[in-house]
Protein backbone atom coordinates (compact mmCIF):
# COMPACT_ATOMS: atom_id res chain seq x y z
CA UNK A 1 0.00 0.00 0.00
CA UNK A 2 1.33 3.43 -0.93
CA UNK A 3 -0.76 5.65 1.29
CA UNK A 4 -3.76 5.61 3.58
CA UNK A 5 -5.67 8.18 5.60
CA UNK A 6 -4.97 10.65 2.85
CA UNK A 7 -7.43 13.52 2.64
CA UNK A 8 -6.99 16.84 0.91
CA UNK A 9 -8.86 19.26 -1.27
CA UNK A 10 -7.79 21.82 -3.83
CA UNK A 11 -9.94 24.84 -4.52
CA UNK A 12 -10.32 27.03 -7.59
CA UNK A 13 -7.22 29.10 -8.23
CA UNK A 14 -5.01 26.88 -6.08
CA UNK A 15 -1.85 25.04 -7.04
CA UNK A 16 -0.99 22.14 -4.76
CA UNK A 17 2.58 20.89 -4.74
CA UNK A 18 3.17 17.22 -3.99
CA UNK A 19 6.46 16.46 -2.33
CA UNK A 20 8.12 13.30 -1.19
CA UNK A 21 11.06 11.01 -1.85
CA UNK A 22 11.28 8.68 -4.86
CA UNK A 23 8.73 5.92 -4.64
CA UNK A 24 6.49 7.74 -2.21
CA UNK A 25 3.57 7.60 -4.62
CA UNK A 26 3.43 11.05 -6.21
CA UNK A 27 2.93 9.69 -9.70
CA UNK A 28 0.49 7.05 -8.51
CA UNK A 29 -1.59 9.71 -6.78
CA UNK A 30 -1.72 11.77 -9.96
CA UNK A 31 -2.65 8.70 -12.00
CA UNK A 32 -5.39 7.88 -9.50
CA UNK A 33 -6.82 11.39 -9.78
CA UNK A 34 -6.73 11.15 -13.58
CA UNK A 35 -8.66 7.88 -13.40
CA UNK A 36 -5.95 5.55 -14.70
CA UNK A 37 -5.59 3.85 -11.33
CA UNK A 38 -8.51 2.80 -9.18
CA UNK A 39 -7.86 3.46 -5.49
CA UNK A 40 -8.42 0.43 -3.29
CA UNK A 41 -10.66 2.47 -1.04
CA UNK A 42 -11.81 6.04 -0.82
CA UNK A 43 -13.29 8.64 -3.12
CA UNK A 44 -11.76 11.18 -5.46
CA UNK A 45 -14.32 13.77 -6.39
CA UNK A 46 -14.43 16.82 -8.61
CA UNK A 47 -17.11 19.32 -7.70
CA UNK A 48 -18.02 21.92 -10.29
CA UNK A 49 -19.36 25.43 -9.71
CA UNK A 50 -22.89 24.45 -10.59
CA UNK A 51 -22.91 21.93 -7.77
CA UNK A 52 -22.43 18.73 -9.76
CA UNK A 53 -19.98 16.20 -8.47
CA UNK A 54 -18.04 13.68 -10.50
CA UNK A 55 -16.42 10.75 -8.80
CA UNK A 56 -15.98 8.07 -11.47
CA UNK A 57 -12.61 7.91 -13.17
CA UNK A 58 -14.06 8.35 -16.63
CA UNK A 59 -16.02 11.48 -15.65
CA UNK A 60 -12.99 13.00 -13.97
CA UNK A 61 -10.92 12.46 -17.10
CA UNK A 62 -12.78 15.17 -19.00
CA UNK A 63 -11.61 17.84 -16.53
CA UNK A 64 -7.95 16.97 -16.64
CA UNK A 65 -5.02 18.48 -18.46
CA UNK A 66 -2.22 15.93 -18.23
CA UNK A 67 1.52 16.44 -18.33
CA UNK A 68 3.13 13.10 -17.58
CA UNK A 69 6.65 11.71 -17.33
CA UNK A 70 6.69 11.13 -21.04
CA UNK A 71 6.03 14.02 -23.34
CA UNK A 72 3.37 12.39 -25.50
CA UNK A 73 4.83 13.59 -28.76
CA UNK A 74 5.13 11.31 -31.79
CA UNK A 75 8.69 11.32 -33.08
CA UNK A 76 7.61 11.37 -36.75
CA UNK A 77 5.35 14.42 -36.43
CA UNK A 78 6.51 18.03 -36.29
CA UNK A 79 5.64 20.21 -33.27
CA UNK A 80 3.15 22.12 -35.41
CA UNK A 81 1.40 18.90 -36.50
CA UNK A 82 1.41 17.60 -32.94
CA UNK A 83 -0.26 20.72 -31.59
CA UNK A 84 -2.81 21.07 -34.35
CA UNK A 85 -3.79 17.41 -33.91
CA UNK A 86 -4.09 17.94 -30.19
CA UNK A 87 -6.32 20.99 -30.51
CA UNK A 88 -8.50 19.35 -33.15
CA UNK A 89 -8.81 16.23 -31.00
CA UNK A 90 -9.65 18.14 -27.84
CA UNK A 91 -11.75 20.67 -29.75
CA UNK A 92 -9.85 23.66 -28.37
CA UNK A 93 -9.32 26.92 -30.16
CA UNK A 94 -5.82 26.68 -31.53
CA UNK A 95 -3.44 29.60 -31.90
CA UNK A 96 -0.77 27.00 -32.61
CA UNK A 97 1.94 29.38 -33.84
CA UNK A 98 1.45 31.65 -30.88
CA UNK A 99 1.76 28.74 -28.46
CA UNK A 100 4.93 27.53 -30.19
CA UNK A 101 6.39 31.04 -29.98
CA UNK A 102 5.57 31.26 -26.29
CA UNK A 103 7.59 28.16 -25.46
CA UNK A 104 10.41 29.14 -27.82
CA UNK A 105 9.91 26.43 -30.46
CA UNK A 106 9.16 28.64 -33.49
CA UNK A 107 12.51 27.86 -35.04
CA UNK A 108 11.96 24.09 -34.98
CA UNK A 109 8.21 24.04 -35.55
CA UNK A 110 8.52 22.09 -38.82
CA UNK A 111 11.22 19.68 -37.73
CA UNK A 112 10.19 16.13 -36.76
CA UNK A 113 10.09 15.74 -32.99
CA UNK A 114 12.77 13.02 -33.08
CA UNK A 115 15.38 15.72 -33.76
CA UNK A 116 14.36 17.75 -30.71
CA UNK A 117 16.22 17.68 -27.42
CA UNK A 118 14.60 16.40 -24.22
CA UNK A 119 14.07 19.95 -23.01
CA UNK A 120 12.46 20.98 -26.28
CA UNK A 121 10.10 18.01 -26.10
CA UNK A 122 9.12 19.09 -22.61
CA UNK A 123 8.49 22.58 -23.94
CA UNK A 124 6.26 21.10 -26.63
CA UNK A 125 4.29 19.28 -23.93
CA UNK A 126 3.92 22.58 -22.05
CA UNK A 127 2.66 24.28 -25.20
CA UNK A 128 0.09 21.50 -25.55
CA UNK A 129 -1.00 21.98 -21.96
CA UNK A 130 -1.23 25.75 -22.37
CA UNK A 131 -3.66 25.27 -25.27
CA UNK A 132 -5.91 22.93 -23.34
CA UNK A 133 -9.03 24.35 -21.79
CA UNK A 134 -9.11 21.77 -19.02
CA UNK A 135 -9.58 23.18 -15.50
CA UNK A 136 -7.50 20.71 -13.47
CA UNK A 137 -3.86 20.39 -14.48
CA UNK A 138 -1.89 17.39 -13.26
CA UNK A 139 1.84 17.88 -13.75
CA UNK A 140 4.32 15.11 -13.06
CA UNK A 141 7.88 16.47 -12.68
CA UNK A 142 7.27 19.38 -15.07
CA UNK A 143 10.75 20.79 -14.46
CA UNK A 144 12.68 17.71 -15.59
CA UNK A 145 15.23 18.47 -18.33
CA UNK A 146 14.24 22.15 -18.61
CA UNK A 147 16.72 25.03 -18.47
CA UNK A 148 16.39 27.97 -16.07
CA UNK A 149 14.19 30.00 -18.41
CA UNK A 150 12.00 26.96 -18.97
CA UNK A 151 11.54 26.47 -15.25
CA UNK A 152 10.42 30.07 -14.81
CA UNK A 153 8.04 29.55 -17.70
CA UNK A 154 6.42 26.57 -15.97
CA UNK A 155 5.80 28.62 -12.84
CA UNK A 156 4.41 31.47 -14.92
CA UNK A 157 2.13 29.13 -16.87
CA UNK A 158 0.70 27.59 -13.71
CA UNK A 159 0.25 31.02 -12.12
CA UNK A 160 -1.72 32.28 -15.13
CA UNK A 161 -3.83 29.13 -15.12
CA UNK A 162 -4.66 29.65 -11.45
CA UNK A 163 -5.48 33.31 -12.00
CA UNK A 164 -8.08 32.21 -14.53
CA UNK A 165 -9.60 30.09 -11.77
CA UNK A 166 -7.89 26.85 -12.75
CA UNK A 167 -6.48 24.21 -10.42
CA UNK A 168 -3.15 22.47 -10.55
CA UNK A 169 -1.53 19.58 -8.73
CA UNK A 170 2.20 19.40 -9.27
CA UNK A 171 4.49 16.55 -8.29
CA UNK A 172 8.04 17.82 -8.09
CA UNK A 173 11.39 17.43 -6.34
CA UNK A 174 12.65 20.88 -7.13
CA UNK A 175 11.42 24.21 -5.84
CA UNK A 176 9.10 25.47 -8.53
CA UNK A 177 8.80 28.98 -7.15
CA UNK A 178 5.08 28.98 -6.51
CA UNK A 179 3.13 30.04 -3.48
CA UNK A 180 0.47 27.69 -2.32
CA UNK A 181 -0.30 24.62 -0.27
CA UNK A 182 2.07 21.67 -0.13
CA UNK A 183 1.37 18.03 0.53
CA UNK A 184 4.15 15.77 1.69
CA UNK A 185 3.88 12.08 0.91
CA UNK A 186 5.90 9.22 2.26
CA UNK A 187 6.30 10.26 5.91
CA UNK A 188 5.25 6.93 7.20
CA UNK A 189 5.64 6.29 10.89
CA UNK A 190 5.04 2.54 10.66
Amino acid sequence: MLFRDLAFSVGAGEALQLEGPNGSGKTSLLRAIAGFLEPRAGIIRIRTNNGQSHSSGEERGSFIGWLGHQDGAKSQLTPREALSFQSRYYGDAAPVDEALGRVGLSRVSDLPVQYLSAGQKKRLALARLSLSARPLWLLDEPLASLDAAGKTFVAELVRQHCERGGLAIIATHEAIGLQGPRLSLGNRDT
Binding site: E58, G61, Q70, D71, K74, Q76, F85, Q86, Y89
Partner: protein, 221 residues
Amino acid sequence: MNAFLALLVRDMRLATRAGGSAMLAVAFFAAVAALVPLGVGADLKLLGRIAGGVLWVAAVLAALLSLDRIFQSDFEDGSLELLVLGPLPSEAVALAKICAHWLTTGLPLTILSPVLALLFNLPARGYDALIASLALGTPAISAIGAIGAGLTLTVRRGGLILPLLILPLISPAVIFGAGAILASLDGLSNGAFPLLGAFSFVAVLLSPFAAAAAVRLNLQG
Protein backbone atom coordinates in the same frame (compact mmCIF):
# COMPACT_ATOMS: atom_id res chain seq x y z
CA MET B 1 -16.94 13.16 -34.71
CA ASN B 2 -14.21 15.75 -35.34
CA ALA B 3 -12.04 14.16 -32.69
CA PHE B 4 -12.59 10.74 -34.27
CA LEU B 5 -11.56 12.03 -37.68
CA ALA B 6 -8.57 13.88 -36.27
CA LEU B 7 -7.31 10.68 -34.65
CA LEU B 8 -7.99 8.65 -37.79
CA VAL B 9 -6.04 11.09 -39.95
CA ARG B 10 -3.17 11.25 -37.47
CA ASP B 11 -2.80 7.48 -37.32
CA MET B 12 -2.94 7.16 -41.10
CA ARG B 13 -0.34 9.86 -41.44
CA LEU B 14 1.94 8.08 -38.96
CA ALA B 15 1.51 4.76 -40.77
CA THR B 16 2.37 6.21 -44.17
CA ARG B 17 5.30 8.37 -43.04
CA ALA B 18 8.87 7.14 -43.32
CA GLY B 19 9.29 4.25 -40.90
CA GLY B 20 5.55 3.66 -40.89
CA SER B 21 3.91 0.29 -41.16
CA ALA B 22 1.88 0.65 -44.36
CA MET B 23 4.69 0.22 -46.88
CA LEU B 24 6.20 -2.58 -44.82
CA ALA B 25 2.97 -4.57 -44.88
CA VAL B 26 2.51 -4.12 -48.62
CA ALA B 27 6.12 -5.07 -49.38
CA PHE B 28 5.95 -8.13 -47.13
CA PHE B 29 2.69 -9.25 -48.75
CA ALA B 30 4.20 -8.92 -52.21
CA ALA B 31 7.39 -10.72 -51.20
CA VAL B 32 5.59 -13.72 -49.69
CA ALA B 33 3.15 -13.98 -52.56
CA ALA B 34 6.00 -13.81 -55.08
CA LEU B 35 8.03 -16.50 -53.30
CA VAL B 36 5.34 -19.18 -53.21
CA PRO B 37 5.12 -19.76 -56.99
CA LEU B 38 8.91 -20.05 -57.02
CA GLY B 39 8.79 -22.67 -54.31
CA VAL B 40 5.81 -24.63 -55.61
CA GLY B 41 7.04 -24.73 -59.20
CA ALA B 42 5.40 -24.15 -62.55
CA ASP B 43 2.33 -26.32 -62.11
CA LEU B 44 -0.17 -23.76 -63.39
CA LYS B 45 -3.22 -25.77 -62.44
CA LEU B 46 -2.05 -26.27 -58.88
CA LEU B 47 -1.06 -22.62 -58.51
CA GLY B 48 -4.48 -21.50 -59.67
CA ARG B 49 -6.11 -23.70 -57.03
CA ILE B 50 -3.97 -22.53 -54.12
CA ALA B 51 -3.87 -18.84 -55.10
CA GLY B 52 -6.76 -17.83 -52.84
CA GLY B 53 -5.46 -19.64 -49.80
CA VAL B 54 -1.88 -18.43 -50.17
CA LEU B 55 -2.90 -14.81 -50.72
CA TRP B 56 -5.15 -14.95 -47.68
CA VAL B 57 -2.41 -16.36 -45.46
CA ALA B 58 0.07 -13.81 -46.80
CA ALA B 59 -2.40 -10.99 -46.11
CA VAL B 60 -2.93 -12.16 -42.52
CA LEU B 61 0.83 -12.37 -41.89
CA ALA B 62 1.45 -8.96 -43.47
CA ALA B 63 -1.24 -7.36 -41.32
CA LEU B 64 0.21 -9.06 -38.23
CA LEU B 65 3.52 -7.24 -38.72
CA SER B 66 2.04 -3.91 -37.74
CA LEU B 67 -0.74 -5.00 -35.38
CA ASP B 68 1.27 -4.83 -32.18
CA ARG B 69 2.01 -1.15 -32.84
CA ILE B 70 -1.67 -0.17 -32.81
CA PHE B 71 -1.49 0.93 -29.17
CA GLN B 72 2.10 0.25 -28.22
CA SER B 73 3.84 3.18 -29.88
CA ASP B 74 1.33 5.56 -28.27
CA PHE B 75 1.80 3.82 -24.94
CA GLU B 76 5.57 4.15 -25.06
CA ASP B 77 5.68 7.88 -25.70
CA GLY B 78 2.81 8.80 -23.41
CA SER B 79 0.31 9.75 -26.12
CA LEU B 80 -2.09 7.03 -25.06
CA GLU B 81 -2.87 8.75 -21.76
CA LEU B 82 -3.64 11.94 -23.63
CA LEU B 83 -5.92 10.09 -26.04
CA VAL B 84 -7.80 8.37 -23.22
CA LEU B 85 -8.25 11.66 -21.35
CA GLY B 86 -9.61 13.27 -24.51
CA PRO B 87 -13.27 13.75 -25.36
CA LEU B 88 -13.64 10.37 -27.10
CA PRO B 89 -14.60 7.32 -25.05
CA SER B 90 -11.78 4.80 -25.18
CA GLU B 91 -13.98 2.48 -27.27
CA ALA B 92 -14.08 5.17 -29.98
CA VAL B 93 -10.31 5.61 -29.72
CA ALA B 94 -9.95 1.87 -30.34
CA LEU B 95 -12.37 1.99 -33.28
CA ALA B 96 -10.50 4.91 -34.87
CA LYS B 97 -7.25 3.01 -34.54
CA ILE B 98 -8.81 -0.14 -36.04
CA CYS B 99 -10.12 1.88 -38.99
CA ALA B 100 -6.75 3.57 -39.51
CA HIS B 101 -4.99 0.20 -39.41
CA TRP B 102 -7.35 -1.28 -41.97
CA LEU B 103 -7.10 1.73 -44.28
CA THR B 104 -3.30 1.55 -44.24
CA THR B 105 -2.89 -2.25 -44.45
CA GLY B 106 -6.06 -4.23 -45.25
CA LEU B 107 -7.18 -1.88 -48.02
CA PRO B 108 -3.81 -1.62 -49.85
CA LEU B 109 -3.39 -5.41 -49.60
CA THR B 110 -6.83 -5.90 -51.13
CA ILE B 111 -6.00 -3.52 -53.97
CA LEU B 112 -2.66 -5.22 -54.62
CA SER B 113 -4.02 -8.77 -54.49
CA PRO B 114 -5.28 -9.04 -58.12
CA VAL B 115 -1.82 -8.07 -59.38
CA LEU B 116 -0.22 -10.79 -57.28
CA ALA B 117 -2.89 -13.28 -58.36
CA LEU B 118 -1.42 -13.02 -61.86
CA LEU B 119 1.68 -14.79 -60.53
CA PHE B 120 -0.56 -17.70 -59.56
CA ASN B 121 -2.41 -17.94 -62.84
CA LEU B 122 -5.68 -17.50 -60.96
CA PRO B 123 -8.52 -18.23 -63.44
CA ALA B 124 -10.39 -15.10 -64.50
CA ARG B 125 -13.61 -16.08 -62.73
CA GLY B 126 -11.81 -16.08 -59.37
CA TYR B 127 -10.79 -12.40 -59.29
CA ASP B 128 -14.09 -10.97 -58.15
CA ALA B 129 -14.23 -13.43 -55.27
CA LEU B 130 -10.60 -12.72 -54.33
CA ILE B 131 -11.10 -8.96 -54.10
CA ALA B 132 -14.48 -9.22 -52.43
CA SER B 133 -13.34 -11.73 -49.83
CA LEU B 134 -10.26 -9.70 -48.86
CA ALA B 135 -12.25 -6.47 -48.72
CA LEU B 136 -14.86 -8.15 -46.55
CA GLY B 137 -12.52 -10.14 -44.33
CA THR B 138 -9.48 -7.96 -43.63
CA PRO B 139 -11.39 -5.56 -41.31
CA ALA B 140 -11.80 -8.53 -38.96
CA ILE B 141 -8.01 -8.95 -38.82
CA SER B 142 -7.52 -5.32 -37.78
CA ALA B 143 -10.37 -5.51 -35.27
CA ILE B 144 -9.38 -8.76 -33.57
CA GLY B 145 -5.74 -7.72 -33.75
CA ALA B 146 -6.55 -4.61 -31.74
CA ILE B 147 -7.78 -6.79 -28.86
CA GLY B 148 -4.49 -8.66 -28.88
CA ALA B 149 -2.55 -5.39 -29.14
CA GLY B 150 -4.39 -4.04 -26.11
CA LEU B 151 -3.81 -7.21 -24.10
CA THR B 152 -0.08 -7.40 -24.83
CA LEU B 153 0.48 -3.67 -24.32
CA THR B 154 2.73 -4.00 -21.28
CA VAL B 155 4.14 -7.44 -22.07
CA ARG B 156 7.81 -7.28 -22.91
CA ARG B 157 8.27 -8.30 -26.55
CA GLY B 158 4.48 -8.57 -26.74
CA GLY B 159 4.70 -8.63 -30.51
CA LEU B 160 5.83 -12.24 -30.28
CA ILE B 161 2.86 -13.38 -28.20
CA LEU B 162 0.33 -11.43 -30.20
CA PRO B 163 0.22 -13.86 -33.17
CA LEU B 164 -0.31 -16.81 -30.83
CA LEU B 165 -3.22 -14.98 -29.22
CA ILE B 166 -5.05 -13.84 -32.30
CA LEU B 167 -4.27 -16.30 -35.09
CA PRO B 168 -6.78 -18.85 -33.75
CA LEU B 169 -9.40 -16.11 -33.55
CA ILE B 170 -8.72 -14.97 -37.10
CA SER B 171 -8.78 -18.45 -38.61
CA PRO B 172 -12.53 -18.35 -39.46
CA ALA B 173 -11.83 -15.40 -41.75
CA VAL B 174 -9.14 -17.38 -43.55
CA ILE B 175 -11.39 -20.45 -43.87
CA PHE B 176 -14.37 -18.53 -45.23
CA GLY B 177 -12.27 -16.17 -47.33
CA ALA B 178 -10.19 -18.80 -49.09
CA GLY B 179 -13.24 -21.07 -49.28
CA ALA B 180 -15.24 -18.41 -51.08
CA ILE B 181 -12.55 -18.08 -53.74
CA LEU B 182 -12.37 -21.86 -54.29
CA ALA B 183 -16.14 -22.16 -54.51
CA SER B 184 -16.28 -19.48 -57.17
CA LEU B 185 -13.52 -21.26 -59.13
CA ASP B 186 -15.59 -24.43 -59.05
CA GLY B 187 -18.70 -22.50 -60.03
CA LEU B 188 -20.49 -23.59 -56.88
CA SER B 189 -22.98 -21.41 -55.12
CA ASN B 190 -21.40 -20.70 -51.80
CA GLY B 191 -22.42 -19.59 -48.35
CA ALA B 192 -18.91 -18.46 -47.45
CA PHE B 193 -19.51 -14.80 -48.25
CA PRO B 194 -22.43 -14.26 -45.87
CA LEU B 195 -20.52 -16.08 -43.13
CA LEU B 196 -17.36 -14.06 -43.78
CA GLY B 197 -19.36 -10.84 -43.77
CA ALA B 198 -21.14 -11.76 -40.56
CA PHE B 199 -17.86 -12.73 -38.89
CA SER B 200 -16.21 -9.49 -39.93
CA PHE B 201 -19.20 -7.39 -38.90
CA VAL B 202 -19.40 -8.90 -35.43
CA ALA B 203 -15.62 -8.60 -34.99
CA VAL B 204 -15.59 -4.90 -35.89
CA LEU B 205 -18.65 -4.27 -33.75
CA LEU B 206 -17.41 -5.95 -30.57
CA SER B 207 -13.62 -5.59 -30.72
CA PRO B 208 -13.47 -1.89 -29.77
CA PHE B 209 -15.09 -2.71 -26.43
CA ALA B 210 -12.70 -5.55 -25.67
CA ALA B 211 -9.67 -3.60 -26.87
CA ALA B 212 -10.63 -0.53 -24.82
CA ALA B 213 -11.07 -2.66 -21.70
CA ALA B 214 -7.67 -4.24 -22.27
CA VAL B 215 -6.02 -0.84 -22.73
CA ARG B 216 -7.63 0.55 -19.55
CA LEU B 217 -6.41 -2.47 -17.65
CA ASN B 218 -2.85 -1.98 -18.89
CA LEU B 219 -2.82 1.74 -18.12
CA GLN B 220 -3.15 0.84 -14.45
CA GLY B 221 0.41 -0.45 -14.44
